[in-house]
């Protein structure tokens, strides 16, 4: 998977590139819009991660030129501008997704994977992670043979974690995707924590393999094998 990262801040670019590499991507970085556009016109990429604020030729301009040329490569736009008008502007210019700085790397990874999945989507009706079985149709959950009763919220939360299994998800991602809460200021963290605690008790109590793990300072991960 080749990913083009157009980002002018060297530190951010280096960190993201290294993160992407360890997540199995083959990242190529460009420091300016000019350079990024040059690379895009010569090579092919599976996904483009594009910073909005770039020196000289900004991200939106690169994006417009790219789309005007008929390219369908999925583009994730990174920006510190989170006003609704900015989002609309970004998406109108042809971005496939939009991520507001500062963000958790886990979220960037999740978004990039979601963009790539969009191409070959078709969500499973049943999902199996270790001995955990999720049935989306009957909305039932089981660990091995043990049926687990969940509230609708808990089921949605588990579904979201399962969709991103082996990936870390942040509270912010959960708030937006499960609670449909677009406002970052709404105090939902405690609510999410309590729901997660409930979910954990129902799934993992008495089991040797703990499926839901906390990644300190970042969020949570649903994983079948014991991780660090």
């Amino acid at each position: 998977m080749r990913a083009l990262l157009i980002e002018d801040d060297a530190k951010t670019a280096r960190a993201l590139a290294s993160g992407l590499r360890s997540a199995g991507f083959e990242p190529v970085t460009a420091k300016t819009g000019e350079e990024g556009f040059f690379l895009l016109s010569r090579e092919s990429f599976d996904v483009v991660i594009l910073d909005w604020m770039l020196p000289a030729r900004d991200g939106i301009e690169v994006l417009r030129t790219l789309r005007a040329g008929g390219s369908k490569t999925p583009v994730l736009l990174l920006t510190a501008r989170d006003a609704v008008e900015d989002r609309v502007l970004g998406l109108d210019a042809g971005a496939d997704d939009y991520l507001v700085k500062p963000f958790a790397f886990a979220e960037l990874l999740a978004r990039v994977r979601a963009l790539l999945r969009r191409v070959d989507s078709g969500s499973a009706l049943r999902q199996q992670i270790g001995d955990l079985t999720l049935n989306m149709q009957t909305r039932s959950v089981a660990r091995g043979a043990r049926e687990i009763a969940l509230t609708p919220r808990e089921f949605d939360l588990l579904t979201f974690l399962a969709q991103h299994h082996d990936e870390t998800v942040t509270r912010q991602m959960i708030a937006r995707e499960v609670w449909r809460e677009p406002n970052r200021v709404t105090p939902l963290d405690n609510v999410i924590d309590v729901h997660l605690a409930h979910l954990r008790r129902k799934l993992d109590e008495g089991e040797t393999v703990k499926l839901i793990q906390t990644v300190r300072g970042v969020g949570f991960v649903l994983r079948a094998e014991a991780g660090a």
Partner: protein
């Protein structure tokens, strides 16, 4: 022209206005005087003509050959008149000249009037020759039984000269009067505007460093006093918002620097003596937590700042209050259940207001979160909405420790915490929750107050109009 006019000083403009007004009044007055005098003089001449006629007619006689003759008769007082200035003609009804008596030899006057056209009384003014204006009266008369037309003349030159003098005096006098008015106006304007100049000089001396100074106000009831009062009130507000801003900046920098300090300290220490991977993990986790705290803080600050800056045409929609309250309850029920609290909602199901749902929800969510945080286990938090005249009132009550009355205003200030040690609640846990709630409600045209006392719990009351004209509230943080 207009631009030129507006560039002049007030005092010059006032002076010119004075001059113009004075000139206008003088011209009107002079014209009136001129008209009156002219009328009076003309009437006097006509009266003289009648007298002349009455003097002349009886002194006319017919001689033996039937010619008209003028014999001086009567009282001696009339002699002077007759000899010097009697000026008349006698015409027959067939328009033949019977007698002509002019005070100067006939040959000296080139023009002669044509014979009278009618035999009725008539007045006319004629210019017999250049500069010689005469008033003429024609009137039928009788000379010893014979019908004649007598024409009497009077010289108008004297009257015309008088009138011309009036005009001359006026023309000379107007500019003088106008100039005097202008000078007077300038002096008066200078004098009355002097306090204004002084005020401007004093106001200039009041800068951001000396905002506590005020303009001297000698007489609060006159115009300048009112101006000074208004100016001083503005200064007071400005000073208050400056102080507010300084406090806010100090608080914000403290709140921003604390996580940054922690971030650096933890990182540096780990770098110096961290060889244990588990310890490094721990360190990075702690640094990420601080970064998250900073992110939350920046988000909350931006939300607060944006609420001041956004245009007032934000989205308005019909919001069902009961529905909104229940939605919030559903969201937070899990928290209250965890603490054994009850979260009760009482609302008329049909209360609907026109407002920005996002803003109202943001305010309520912060208030409810705050209430849950500050209420002990197994207590009650209630949310209630009811109609009130002109709108709706919503209350959020908790059973917490309460807030002392002296803090009732302050708790809505950014970063204010009653208990400094017990930090982070609401607003993403950065001490901005109540400030955000207050700003959001005020943006929706409503207001929010707190009723509370120590150990009695707190009630936050929101009053909203039915339809909120999203107001641009004054920028006091």
């Amino acid at each position: 022209m207009k631009a030129w006019w507006l560039r002049r000083s007030v005092r010059l403009r006032l002076a010119l206005w004075y001059a113009a007004a004075t000139a206008l009044v003088l011209i009107a007055f002079a014209w009136f005087v001129y008209e009156v005098i002219e009328h009076r003089l003309a009437a006097e001449i006509d009266r003289q003509l009648r007298i002349d006629f009455d003097l002349v007619e009886p002194q006319l006689s017919l001689d033996t050959e039937g010619r008209v003759d003028w014999t001086l008769r009567g009282s001696h007082g009339d002699e002077g008149f007759s000899r010097l200035s009697a000026w008349f003609e006698v015409w027959s009804e067939k328009r033949e000249l019977l007698l002509r008596h002019w005070p100067v030899p006939e040959s000296n006057i080139k023009n002669v009037l044509p014979p009278p056209r009618t035999s009725t009384l008539s007045f006319a003014t004629v210019e017999l020759e250049r500069g010689l204006f005469l008033r003429v009266m024609e009137r039928p008369g009788r000379v010893q039984g014979r019908s004649v037309i007598i024409r009497v003349f009077r010289d108008e030159t004297e009257m015309r000269r008088t009138l011309r003098e009036i005009v001359e005096v006026s023309v000379l006098g107007f500019p003088l009067a106008g100039a005097l008015a202008a000078i007077g106006g300038y002096l008066v304007a200078t004098r009355s505007l002097a306090p204004l100049d002084a005020m401007a000089r004093q106001a200039r001396r009041i800068t951001s460093e000396s905002l506590s100074k005020r303009l001297p106000n000698l007489n609060p009831s006159d115009e300048l006093g009112r101006l000074a009062t208004v100016f001083n009130e503005t200064l007071t507000r400005l000073e208050a918002s400056f102080a507010e801003l300084q406090r806010f900046t100090a608080d914000a920098s403290h709140e921003l620097r604390s996580p940054l300090t922690a971030l650096r300290a933890v990182g540096e220490v780990a770098l110096r003596d961290g060889n244990d991977p588990a310890m490094l993990r721990e360190t990075i986790g702690s640094m990420l937590e601080e970064a998250e705290r900073l992110t939350d803080l920046v988000d909350a600050l931006l939300t607060l700042a944006r609420m001041d800056a956004t245009k007032a045409d934000a989205t308005r929609e019909e919001v069902n209050i009961a529905g909104l309250l229940e939605e919030i309850r559903d969201q937070f029920e899990v928290l209250t259940a965890e603490k054994g609290q009850t979260l009760a909602v009482t609302s008329n199901p049909n209360v609907v207001v026109q407002t920005d749902r996002t803003l109202l929800r943001l305010a309520l969510v912060n208030l409810v979160h705050n209430a849950i945080q500050h209420s002990p286990s197994s207590s009650k938090v209630s949310l209630a909405a009811a109609r009130r005249p002109g709108g709706v009132k919503i209350s959020v009550s908790d059973s917490g420790r309460g807030i002392a009355p002296e803090y009732h205003e302050k708790i809505f200030e950014p970063f204010f915490r009653v208990d400094k040690a017990r930090s982070r609640s609401g607003g993403g846990g950065v001490g901005l929750g109540l400030a955000i709630a207050k700003r959001a409600i005020e943006r929706s045209g409503g207001r929010i107050i707190v009723e509370s006392d120590l150990n009695r719990g707190s009630v936050f009351r929101i009053e909203l109009p039915w339809s909120s004209q999203l107001a641009t509230i004054p920028a006091t943080t």
